[in-house]
């Protein structure tokens, strides 16, 4: 800490920071634009001016930019000095010479950082008489609207998009007061983090196009703290509702997890909540029935001795309620058996191996990263963004040697040029992180696993050796092991995406070998497929295949399927057979899917935006999410349907289910601490989901009933569907919105809720880490090393491929996302495609079904393998077969008439 003097008052601030960040961390207000806590300082906007004094005798001082001024012992500055105040007002006045006065029709209005800063500096009277410069706006795709006339040229958009997120299709053009931020031509922004521009832009140049389609002012939104459901990272979000529609999702800062940024799937995937074809009424054989009838049927089915199939995208509470209802011995996982096997390994490794599962902030601190068999950029984009930052650490260290502070963003990047810290990508196909990697090795899944095991052996001879490795791969293994040995903070990243269980084992093996060498737990980060994949596994379900097998023997009288589409998790034939043999099938879900058409009873449940519960992300962090709105029609929380059907349990509220789950499952004991209980109050009041500025409360539903409706009660949480109460002082896990006096924008106001700007949320970041490294015992090595797969003529080994947009089922239903989903295809190496006679499409045998798909040449595909995109709408149903026989499709062979 160093002592500085601000307006004559002494303060202590951490050494090494810049003055702007230090002042904001002290809780002082100083306007700024171009600086961002995650992007650092560049000194462009000149808004954060203060007066800096040489010493206590200097009364004049000189104007200095706080963001570019390092704090040092004895630094004396004037925040309120007239020269600083006048200068800051002058800068705003200059920025406003070209800014349109369109706040009343601008979607940023009310949460606009430029508005806030204009008010803060006191600029009210316009003296500039000239015309404003105007620009032509661009079509930037389904996510982002563009209004360049509002631009104040802070350069944050390009700095985020290009420098931070690695995009290259947003650029700054022209010069002087004509600088233009856009694409070289109209078209969708390609980078999967484009949605952050909405929050990074201090004004309304980049706004949320999906929000625009049903716009509501920030203060009219009803919001709640939530957790993203579109991958296993568990980013914190704030969904907002008005008039029964989920209007948007914005980032909810979490110091250890997502920080300031979300991926576009997480931000725009919410559209599925608003789909008109949602399941909203209980259905019996296709006919709507009452909730009571639905409940009765569920009870009947339970009495028959139903099995339960849990869900990787339903809450722990919902899964636990199902498990209780059917009994642990009848509880199965609603995911593919291959995923199950990998998740089972991950569960065991996290629970009982000497390895550490890092948070995203810890990922950002890694100095050597090895990615094994996972296309993180497409399966867990936010994790990939963290890895991207980690690759800068070597140059931050080099900068530090030259006394360039890490927040001197432009200087560090200039010094670094294209140099990136060691990142090794060993993958089964091309991945999004390849462009950053020092070494990219592409092999078949088995060979990637073998390479992984070889690295573990090279690190720690006690780990089993791999025989029959090629010279090239042995060299790779040795050089990567060397780099990992040298690292201060090595990180291994893997996941379930490859579909090869041995890859997950190999990743764990490497981390374990590192832990042994280092005599302290090494970090391994696993990507899991869904938002609660790991949570489901912690409830110890059996694999789905077992359920299918027992049905074959006719011993399954009924099945209760929770928020899963069995047709995505098992072969069509097997699911068909299962459903026809099971006496009765009950499906609880919120969106139409293939299993819903086959279930006799369908019970509607709420989505993440309408229900409450706990998810466990890939890190092993239990996080509570809360409803931003009431479910539609007769839908309710899944756990409530299941609890009401239970013959003995009399659970009335979520806390009781959470408590019972925590009591029953030792590893989940701390899940109760993920958020305060429903009886939490501030001054006797719950935390309001509505803002203190909410308009039309008495009129919003006057066209239905002239009387103001009674606010809906929420017995499950400490949040209320009202305006009354204190949202400002709420604990982080219950904070419904980020809003502070003078700071109305989401990204900037959060500073008022952090310990220090960019640090942890005050009172601690929410969520509970369930696993800490186990130090005891000898390393339990995996000893079964797969054999290299020999190519068979005419048969291709399948390799799953992922797409940010399309591979995840819920977001793929969102209207805006649909535009970004690729058409179905398979990919072959150009040489293999040549062997097939340069076909445009191929005919393949998919679990006995003949399918014809367009084929793409892609030189990142390993020869002898075929890349099969996962989950894309239009692709054949069910998990991908391990191998595919294929041939060139004959013209018109598909039978499609034109």
């Amino acid at each position: 800490m160093v002592g500085i003097v601000v307006d004559g008052e002494p303060h202590e601030v951490p050494a090494g920071g810049n003055l702007l960040q230090s002042l904001l961390s002290l809780g002082l207000d100083l306007p700024y634009f171009c600086w961002h806590p995650a992007l650092g300082s560049v000194g462009a906007c000149r808004q954060c001016a203060v007066v800096q004094y040489r010493d206590e005798n200097d009364v004049t001082g000189r104007v200095a930019m706080a963001c570019m001024t390092p704090v040092a012992e004895g630094l004396r500055i004037g925040l309120k000095a007239p020269a600083a105040v006048e200068f800051r007002a002058g800068i705003i006045e200059l920025l406003m010479t070209n800014h349109p006065h369109d706040c009343p029709v601008c979607e940023e209005g009310g949460e606009c950082h430029l508005q806030d800063m204009t008010v803060m500096t006191g600029h009210t009277f316009r003296q500039y008489r000239g015309l404003k410069r105007t620009h032509r706006n661009q079509y930037l795709g389904p996510f982002i609207n563009h209004e360049m006339n509002r631009c104040i040229a802070c350069y944050r958009c390009v700095r985020f998009y290009r420098d931070y997120a690695g995009g290259d299709d947003l650029q700054v053009f022209a010069s002087r007061n004509q600088v233009y931020f856009g694409r070289f031509e109209d078209g969708a922004l390609e980078n999967e983090f484009s949605g952050n521009l909405v929050e990074v832009c201090p004004t309304g140049v980049f706004t949320d196009r999906t929000f625009s389609a049903h716009f509501t002012r920030k203060w009219d939104l009803q919001t709640a703290p939530s957790v993203c459901v579109h991958c296993g990272v568990g980013c914190n979000t704030t969904p907002g509702e008005r008039y029964g529609t989920l209007k948007r999702v914005i980032n909810r800062y979490h110091g250890d997890l997502n920080g300031y940024f979300l991926c576009d799937r997480g931000r725009f995937g919410y559209g599925f909540v608003n789909c008109a074809d949602r399941l909203t009424e209980p259905m019996l054989h296709g006919q709507p029935v009452t909730r009571a009838e639905g409940r009765a049927r569920l009870r009947d089915v339970t009495f028959k001795g139903a099995i339960g199939i849990g869900s990787p995208r339903a809450s722990l509470e919902a899964n636990f309620a199902l498990r209780e209802l059917v009994g642990p011995e009848n509880f199965y996982a609603g995911c593919a058996d291959a995923d199950y096997a990998m998740l089972d390994t991950i569960r065991r490794v996290l629970a009982s191996w000497p390895v550490h599962s890092p948070s995203l902030r810890e990922v950002e601190g890694a100095d050597v990263v090895l990615v094994l068999g996972e296309d993180v950029g497409n399966t867990a984009p936010r994790l990939a963004l963290a890895i991207r930052q980690a690759t800068r650490n070597c140059m931050l260290a080099a900068a530090a040697e030259l006394k360039i502070a890490p927040w001197q963003d432009a200087a560090v990047r200039e010094l670094a040029q294209q140099v990136r810290g060691p990142l090794f990508v060993l993958a089964t196909t091309g991945t999004r992180l390849d462009e950053l990697a020092e070494v990219v090795v592409r092999r078949t899944p088995a060979d990637i696993a073998r390479l992984g095991f070889a690295i573990a052996h090279a690190l720690e001879p006690a780990a089993p050796a791999v025989s029959g490795l090629s010279d090239e791969d042995r060299q790779h293994a040795e050089s990567i092991a060397e780099a990992l040995k040298r690292a201060d903070n090595p990180l291994v990243v893997s996941g379930t995406g490859s579909g090869e269980p041995a890859i997950v084992e190999a990743a764990a093996q490497i981390a374990c070998a590192l832990s042994r060498r280092r005599k302290q737990p090494a970090s391994v980060s696993f990507v899991v497929p869904e938002c609660n994949s790991l949570g489901l596994m912690l409830l110890d379900p059996k694999r789905l295949g077992k359920a299918l097998e027992s049905a074959e023997s006719g011993s399954v009288p009924a099945a209760i399927v929770l928020e899963s589409d069995l047709f995505r998790s098992a072969r069509t034939e097997a699911v068909e057979s299962f459903l026809s043999r099971v006496g009765e099938t009950v499906l609880l879900d919120h969106s139409p899917q293939a299993t819903a058409h086959r279930a006799q009873i369908v019970l509607p449940v709420g989505t993440f935006a309408e229900t409450e519960g706990t998810f466990v992300n890939g890190e092993g962090r239990a996080q509570r999410f809360f409803a931003a709105m009431s479910p539609r029609g007769a839908a309710m929380d899944s756990w409530r349907w299941l609890a009401e059907a239970h013959p003995r349990h009399d659970w009335q509220c979520l806390d009781e289910v959470t408590g019972a789950c925590a009591a029953a499952i030792p590893v989940l004991a701390r899940m109760v601490d993920a958020a305060p209980r429903a009886d939490f109050r501030i001054d006797g009041l719950k935390i309001p989901r509505q803002t203190h500025r909410r308009s039309g409360r008495t009129a919003a539903s006057a066209h239905i009933d002239i009387r103001e409706p009674q606010p809906q009660d929420d017995t499950d949480s400490a949040l209320a569907f009202t305006m009354e109460g204190d949202a400002f002082d709420a604990p982080a896990a219950l904070r419904t919105y980020s809003w502070a006096p003078s700071w109305n924008s989401n990204g900037q106001s959060i500073a008022k809720f952090q310990d220090e700007v960019g640090g942890a949320l005050r009172g601690g970041d929410p969520g509970v880490r369930l696993f800490e490294p186990v130090q005891r015992g000898a390393a339990p090595w995996f000893t079964e090393i797969p054999r290299a797969v020999a190519a068979e003529p005419g048969v291709w080994l399948t390799v799953p491929r992922y797409h940010v947009f399309g591979s995840e089922a819920l977001s793929a239903r969102a209207e805006s996302v649909v535009e970004r989903i690729p058409a179905p295809y398979v990919a072959l190496h150009p040489s293999d495609l040549a062997r097939l006679g340069h076909a445009d499409s191929v005919e393949l045998n998919w679990h006995g079904f003949r399918e014809v798909l367009p084929v793409l040449a892609d030189d990142t595909v390993v020869p002898g393998t075929i890349g099969v995109p996962v989950g894309l709408p239009g692709m054949p149903c069910g998990p991908c077969p391990r191998t595919l026989a294929l041939r060139k499709a004959e013209p018109h062979g598909s039978g499609v008439s034109t």
Binding site: C45, R46, T97, Y128, Y155, A174, S175, L402, I404
Partner: protein, 425 residues
């Protein structure tokens, strides 16, 4: 050899052609380089230039040897660069062009010595895009120098090698700012960089880099060849050496002359430029190019040396003065300059990007008879907003200098444009 009183221009030919290699060598060309390579370790070359007291001729006047001394030396210092700032775009300035067109080998020798002194193995000449003739002559001279082993591998049989590249700029005033120049050279937007870190630490492609002005480097061969004492004796001024001084405007003989540092403005205007043209009186002058404050006739006896011009309230800048006569409107002159600066703003920082267009707008209103009394105060405010330290680089403070000094010295001219109260109605 006794040396000449005008070392920089001694080889200038009256026929306008470039001095040939042979001619250059006849007056001692490349002997400075040979001496440096044969007799002096790099640090000693730095020391000689330091001792000579050479100050940068690009405008800021930073001691050249000191600048070189900030470059990390030693075997582990890695790749380093020398960059010649030949992007001469300061309005009223044409001295570097003259040196490059008339005696290109002098620059090449200066580059080679400077690169040796900082142990840079690659050098670039960043040349103003419009300087086609200079480009042609430099290219030819570079080929000759390469052929004669003054450039390339193992220069003059020494262990020192230097690759020299000529880069013609796409053409922006801001490229003359050394860090914007580096960005431009890297193929990026010509936006200045924050300092620190200085280019000597992290410059071109993040490597230690020295950026020197053409004229500065042209001094170096003579210092190395003729010695520090000779160089310091070229002038009685506190600033050693000679300098190309120029004068443009309504003087009798506009031009460029190599004169000792410290030559008075009067001598430059009256003796060398021949005084004002008939019918014109001197009203003021911008002593060092467009981005310097006006000086007045009362300053005629100010010597052209860095500190003396600063003390008089302006900057020596490039030393090429623009003369304002009594029949040219200072307001129109300033408007013309501000239009240029507004056009050339890179768009990075707010005071420059948005302040200069407003300045232009106010001046345009004024000369169109639509000004308001408060506009003059607003112009003053804008000048203060664009003042040194308030902006990201020196462009806007430079742009403010002619305006702020014109407002001070020629306020009546501004006020004359204001509509009379009765006209305002």
């Amino acid at each position: 050899m006794s040396g000449t009183a005008t070392p920089l221009t001694q080889n200038v030919r009256l026929d306008g052609a470039a001095a040939t290699l042979e001619q250059y060598r006849r007056t001692g060309g490349y002997r400075g380089l040979e001496r440096a390579l044969e007799e002096l370790p790099p640090e000693a070359v730095q020391q000689e230039v330091k001792d000579a007291g050479l100050r940068g001729r690009g405008g800021a006047g930073f001691p050249t040897g000191v600048k070189w001394g900030l470059v990390p030396m030693g075997d582990d210092a890695g790749q380093k660069y020398l960059v010649v700032n030949a992007d001469e775009m300061e309005p009223g300035t044409f001295k570097d062009r003259y040196l490059m067109e008339r005696d290109p080998h002098q620059l090449i020798e200066g580059v080679a010595i400077a690169a040796y002194a900082v142990q840079a193995s690659v050098a670039y000449v960043f040349l103003r895009g419009e300087y086609h003739l200079a480009a042609e002559r430099l290219k030819r001279a570079m080929a000759e120098a390469l052929d004669q082993s003054y450039l390339g591998s193992n220069i003059c049989s020494s262990s020192f090698s230097l690759e020299l590249h000529l880069h013609s700029s796409a053409g922006r005033y801001i490229c003359g700012e050394e860090t914007a120049l580096l960005n431009s050279l890297e193929g990026k937007r010509a936006t200045p960089r924050a300092k620190p870190p200085f280019p000597q630490i992290s410059g071109l492609w993040g490597r230690p880099t020295v950026v020197n002005n053409v004229e500065t480097l042209c001094n170096v061969p003579h210092i190395l060849r003729e010695g520090v004492a000779w160089y310091r004796a070229l002038t009685a001024s506190v600033d050693p050496g000679t300098k190309l001084f120029g004068a443009s405007g309504r003087v009798r003989r506009p031009g460029l002359w190599e004169l000792p540092m410290g030559t008075t403005i009067r001598e430059i205007i009256e003796d060398h430029a021949g005084g004002m043209r008939d019918g014109y009186r001197l009203r003021g002058l911008l002593p060092g190019g467009a981005s310097t404050d006006f000086l007045l006739p009362e300053h005629l006896d100010v010597p052209m040396e860095f500190d003396a011009v600063a003390k008089a309230g302006s900057r020596m800048g490039t030393g090429t003065m623009i003369v304002l006569d009594d029949r040219t409107c200072p307001v129109q002159m300033v408007l013309n300059l501000e239009r240029f600066f507004a056009q050339e703003s890179c768009g990075w920082c707010t005071p420059c990007r948005d302040g200069l267009p407003w300045t232009v707008r106010l001046l345009e209103d004024l000369v169109a008879g639509q000004g308001r009394a408060e506009d003059l105060e607003q112009l003053g405010r804008l000048c203060r907003l664009m003042g040194p330290g308030n902006t990201f680089c020196a462009l806007a403070p430079g742009a403010a200098e002619p305006l702020q000094s014109a407002l001070k010295h020629f306020l009546g001219d501004f006020e004359r444009y204001l509509p009379r109260q009765s006209e305002v109605a």
